[in-house]
Assembly symmetry: C2
Homo-oligomer: 344 residues x 2
């Protein structure tokens, strides 16, 4: 893979440059073919670049702007605020071909809306879908989409999500004939909404897809499937419930780990050893490592990081974007869709 450039909204997310710059420093050290276009407030960014010895790095171009989009305002307001904002400038750099992808931890609605506005969609895809790799208990990953871009979808849009998820899993998980499932409240054919029952029948007839039926949300991480398809409302509810549970349980053990640090008796070394072992186990399913949702269905790689991401989590969002650029995902999906005899 040749060199490539990532446009980054340095100001996005709850912690701005304090989180994004350390994450970018790590990404640069891991990917020698990576260059960065950074958008944000010079006065906040420069000291951090200096700290990480990146102030004069030839890999970094910093574009100063003090404008940014507030985190939680609705899209209609955000669009009015967006001119010269760090997020919009990053997306425009991608649109103009100056970068192959964009990462932002800013306002989700604004990022999705602006990306749809600025970045060309793939042909035959009506709506892009927020797509993530979620961790499974056996240490592998499952693709899940839509995670919140589309509150309500049509039957044909759900089928498009299935097609995109299929191609995404082929490239990102290196699978030949990925298993596809529809998320539902039961696995029997009569379960769930009329829409799910109808799309289930449509997908069953598709010989080009390895559709294996409904899956319930208690099996998201069970590796029973490779692609989980749902509307954005359902996906968002399910994923957040999963992440909330994982974060909460992990936090129980982090507290325990901190407690162990003040043990001053002879058991101390052993305690640490054991806690470390637990901690490693939990790290495998730590949501941080699966931070990043891509807006699949656009002609470029646009990745949303969690707003509350720490530097480690933001690094994984960058890594997720890089994997997609290196895997040439938008093009692979374009080619896959155009080879599909069912798509006109």
């Amino acid at each position: 893979m040749g060199d490539f450039t990532l446009a980054v909204d340095v100001m996005g997310g709850d912690f701005g440059p304090r989180v994004t710059i350390p994450a970018l420093a790590k990404a640069l050290s891991q990917h020698s073919n990576l260059s960065l276009l950074l958008f944000g407030d010079e006065s906040q960014i420069t000291p951090l670049l200096e700290k990480y010895s990146l102030l004069h790095s030839p890999k970094i171009q910093l574009h100063h702007t003090e404008q940014m989009i507030d985190a939680d305002i609705p899209f209609s307001k955000a669009i009015r605020q967006s001119k010269n904002s760090s997020m919009r400038l990053a997306l425009e750099a991608v649109k103009e071909g100056k970068a192959q992808g964009c990462v932002s931890g800013g306002n989700t609605g604004a990022l999705m809306g602006l990306a749809k506005l600025l970045i060309e969609p793939l042909p035959n895809i009506e709506r892009p879908a927020l797509t993530s790799l979620i961790p499974t208990m056996n240490g592998k990953s499952t693709v899940m989409l839509d995670l919140g871009a589309n509150i309500e979808v049509s039957n044909s849009q759900l089928q498009q999500f299935a097609e995109m998820g299929n191609l995404f899993a082929q490239v990102m998980l290196d699978l030949v004939y990925p298993r596809l499932s529809l998320l539902n409240i039961g696995t029997e054919e009569n379960k769930g909404t009329a829409q799910l029952q109808a799309v289930h029948q449509q997908l069953k007839k598709r010989q080009d897809l390895n559709y294996i039926g409904f899956i319930e949300s208690d099996k998201l991480t069970s590796y029973l499937t490779d692609v989980i398809i749902c509307d954005g409302y359902t996906g968002n509810i399910a994923l957040k419930a999963l992440e909330g549970a994982a974060k909460n349980i992990i936090s129980l053990f982090k507290k325990e780990k901190a407690d162990s640090n003040i043990c001053r008796n002879t058991k101390r070394y052993l305690l640490k050893l054991i806690f470390y072992r637990y901690y490693r186990k939990l790290q495998e399913i730590n949501p941080d490592r699966h931070n990043g949702a891509t807006l699949l269905g656009l002609s470029k790689v646009i990745v949303k990081s969690h707003g509350g991401a720490n530097a480690n989590a933001f690094y994984y969002a960058i890594d997720y974007a890089i994997q997609q650029i290196e895997g040439d995902i938008p093009n692979k999906i374009l080619q896959g869709l155009s080879q599909n005899p069912l798509i006109k």
Copy 2:
């Protein structure tokens, strides 16, 4: 509280009497005012009653039936199979006043359908809602409804769920002015479906309810609210995702615990001690302890146990039914609703 009787579908659930009888034996030992009407196959039940020294207990009446409803068939089929089934006979005993409540781990659709058919609904409640207490990270509980009884609901039905949840939390959690929240994919007013936005505005105007706004599914166990209100599809997706994550993570540690049992070196005692400490912590949020969903809005207590419940979990479902009978829940909700000036 005086004596009361529980009608139990002994055959329901994946393991039938092997799980239900040990759970019932424990319930009898804990509740001296409890009597049981058991429905199921004598030839399977009698040996187990003997094992637990309950064969001639004056607290138990066994009604033999070999009929039972298959676990996963749709309601239309189940209703035809239901005559003389253990589940239907248990519900009929409640209908006829022979028992104050019913517990079953059988076919969920059949139990909900038959209960709605046989048990009188409370006035002004259009549809009963599956209601559970979910564990919070601080060791307390939050009421959540609907968890799967109603795939699609009207705005007024969601308001009825809010009213029932409010009264349920007052009695079961001993709260004066419980906090109510609507489950949504964001906390801002513009988030989610048109229905959620409309019901949000309606609940905000209700001065008799302590409605505090939207809650996201990653906060289900954060004790930010006392009652979480949603349609049955959303509730089912969210709760199963939460339970799946909890079960999976707990299973990681159970495995670790089993491993520790074969440690044969000097560290053995210490390891056990530490694992026990972890294990206790996890038990607090173990879904087993919160097994049981009640069909709230009926004039009697009808509790559904997980089909896959073990004896410990089934015991908690029985305990949940007993708490509701002792708390006189159906009557309290009836009184609360009739005192509400907004309800005609």
